[in-house]
């Protein structure tokens, strides 16, 4: 086991991302050591670790494991918005990952939701707990498998004219439709999140406005809490038009939200 671990670490050491990851790990472990003696400084180190994980992401490392570690670092630093962002990014890659879902639920539990209405609250997860979540590629594979069985059943019915093959074909067709439907639903959701990226409110007391300016009146009287999630619909200058998880839309200043820049984002240019 030690040999395997050593080999794995050696292989990772050869990675071009290894030095940056080592810095992130050092900050993280430093924070872990200080957690009992100096929590404020520990949180600072966890935040630094999160920033290094951000850089890894911008360098092109896209993996649910990285997002989980990034989210945990920000969560321990007390930066719930960035933690939620990281966990959502991980779930976009791996919707079936139970650890990411659990961490996201914990992070959402830190958000001070309004007690008067459900503004900004994500819809309840009605997924049956006894039903395992399946990775998209597994669903697609199952759909292909059942579809193949369906073709075989119909072919055998053509050969033997035995009605049992027709029944088998009907069952496998239903299973194909179910698996394909599940896969398409997941892909649609992921496509939507890619088109309208996730944003998270970074400050407490933010009001959604009717337009892109402070001159516009608030759309809703209830202020948003730090950690409320939404999707970016469009941007005008420094103002973002967002749609909350609960369906409401409005405008908010860019500096009051956090989002994940894509790894190839060119950023701002002085002439632009």
């Amino acid at each position: 086991m030690t040999l395997i671990l050593g080999a794995a670490l050696q292989e990772a050491d050869a990675s071009p991302h290894a030095p940056l990851y080592a810095q992130a790990r050092a900050e993280f472990e430093h924070g872990a050591r200080l957690r009992d003696t100096d929590p404020a400084l520990a949180r600072q180190h966890f935040h630094r670790a999160g920033e290094y994980f951000d850089r890894l992401r911008q360098q092109g490392v896209h993996h649910p494991t990285l997002e989980l570690q990034r989210g945990n670092a920000y969560f321990l630093a007390g930066d719930v918005p960035r933690a939620i962002l990281a966990y959502r990014a991980g779930l976009w890659l791996a919707p079936h990952d139970a650890a990411l879902r659990a961490r996201l639920a914990d992070a959402r539990g830190q958000v001070a939701w309004s007690t008067t209405d459900k503004l900004g609250q994500p819809p309840e997860d009605n997924w049956p707990p006894w039903l395992p979540r399946v990775a998209p590629e597994v669903l697609l594979g199952l759909a292909g498998f059942f579809y193949s069985l369906f073709c075989v059943s119909i072919t055998r019915w053509g050969m033997t004219r035995w009605s049992g093959w027709l029944e088998s074909g009907a069952v496998t067709l239903l299973l194909t439709i179910a698996a394909t439907g599940g896969w398409l639903a997941q892909e649609w959701q992921r496509g939507r999140e890619k088109q309208y990226p996730v944003v998270v409110i970074a400050e407490d007391g933010i009001l959604l406005r009717k337009g892109n300016g402070m001159a516009y009146a608030p759309r809703y009287d209830t202020p948003l809490a730090r950690g409320v999630e939404g999707h970016l619909l469009r941007q005008r200058g420094d103002w973002l038009h967002i749609e909350l998880a609960s369906g409401q839309t409005g405008w908010v200043l860019r500096q009051w939200v956090v989002d994940d820049p894509p790894s190839t984002a060119p950023g701002a240019n002085a002439s632009g």
């Binding site: 671990l5 794995a8 670490l9 990772a12 990675s15 991302h17 290894a18 790990r25 993280f28 472990e29 872990a32 957690r35 009992d36 929590p39 404020a40 520990a42 949180r43 935040h47 920033e51 850089r55 890894l56 911008q58 896209h62 993996h63 494991t65 990285l66 570690q69 945990n72 969560f75 321990l76 007390g78 930066d79 976009w92 890659l93 791996a94 697609l140 759909a143 292909g144 579809y147 193949s148 369906f150 073709c151 075989v152 072919t155 050969m159 033997t160 004219r161 035995w162 009605s163 992921r190 496509g191 500096q255 820049p261 984002a265 060119p266 950023g267 701002a268 240019n269 002085a270 002439s271």
Partner: protein, 348 residues
């Protein structure tokens, strides 16, 4: 010697020593680049807190290739830490190597990344980068050292940024599950891309087309391998009725009990061949259920079940029941009715 002559003819420039920029007049912050260049900068994000990092990307692009005998020489990594404007405002993290982070050979461009952390909230911009290169087109040569700034020609040379106050970290006790404070040792994920993209149309097309094509090929091969198999399947069903009816006609000389027993047996065999009845000696209820399952009308299924019940009564009941119905005739009628229903359904 012969090879040297050939090389001289084919590529005379290979015998010319590489030109070096003159030492006279060389600025201390000369980048090593030879040619004519344009420099731009971009930063992301442009809103950060104090001591939070932002990424600055400096792009150096050659605008003209130097004249012969000079060759285009790319720049070394500009050192921001040696430029006071940057050092005063930012903590700077930059690679130790002089190599660019990205190269674009077709565009004659090179990009260098830096991580800047603003020192305080007073920092409102990223100052323009000063870049020194050598342009050999000037005479005398020592006048060829040119200084430019990034984004030269743009409205603004600097990049405005907004720096928030440093967030205060809570001193409240850190309470979380113990496993949150541990990072796993396995780091292979760093180089293991996690593909989450929508499958390509080629893959999807293969998934949709390959199974029916394979099954069609299988069917064609089966037809060629067993040319009579399909015909035999159809015949088995038509032959089942003929065989049964022929068998029933041959029962005339037998006594009533024997006729009932043989009729039931012939009927069972017929149903097994024609409608895949699984049981060897089915109960009447089993027969009715199987017939209804295969799509036979309820009325006909009930009649067939009633036939089997009468056969059982003849075989096992009191002798006076044996002479009431000619079960062979009943069986013949049932077979005709079943064949008519099955064939009409098949024609439809």
């Amino acid at each position: 010697m012969f090879l040297a002559v050939i090389l001289l003819i084919l590529d005379p420039s290979s015998f010319i020593l590489a030109q070096e920029p003159p030492i006279l007049g060389q600025p201390r912050d000369y980048s090593g680049a030879v040619g004519s260049f344009h420099v731009t900068m971009r930063a992301t994000p442009t809103e950060v807190a104090v001591e939070q990092p932002l990424r600055l990307t400096v792009r150096v692009q050659a605008t003209r290739v130097p004249p012969s005998p000079w060759t285009l020489r790319p720049p070394r990594r500009p050192r921001l830490q040696e430029q006071p404007w940057f050092n005063e405002r930012f903590h700077i993290e930059e690679s130790r190597t002089d190599q660019p982070d990205r190269e674009f050979p077709s565009e004659l461009a090179w990009e260098f990344d830096y991580w800047l952390r603003p020192r305080d909230t007073e920092v409102a911009q990223i100052p323009p980068l000063r870049f020194v290169y050598f342009n050999p087109a000037f005479v005398p040569e020592w006048k060829g050292y040119m200084t430019t700034v990034a984004n030269d020609g743009a409205e603004r040379h600097s990049i405005p940024i907004y720096v928030r106050a440093k967030p205060a970290f809570s001193a409240a006790p850190l309470e979380a599950a113990p496993d949150l404070f541990v990072l796993p040792a396995d780091t292979r994920f760093l180089d293991r891309p996690y593909s989450a993209e929508f499958p390509s149309l080629v893959v999807l097309g293969l998934l949709v087309v390959a199974p029916p094509l394979a099954c069609a090929a299988w069917y064609v091969w089966w037809r060629r391998r067993y040319p009579d198999a399909a015909r035999l399947a159809r015949l088995r069903r038509g032959r089942a009725a003929r065989t049964a009816l022929k068998g029933l006609r041959g029962l005339a000389q037998l006594d009533a009990v024997e006729r009932g027993t043989r009729s039931a047996s012939i009927m069972t065999t017929y149903l097994r061949h024609r409608l895949d009845l699984p049981a060897v000696e089915p109960a009447p209820a089993e027969v009715a259920a199987h017939l209804e399952h295969t799509g036979v009308t309820t009325e006909l299924a009930d009649k067939t079940a009633a036939f089997f019940r009468r056969c059982d009564a003849v075989r096992f009941g009191p002798p006076d029941l044996a002479n009431r119905d000619d079960l062979a005739d009943v069986a013949t009628q049932l077979i005709h009715a079943l064949e008519m229903e099955l064939w009409s359904r098949q024609a439809a």
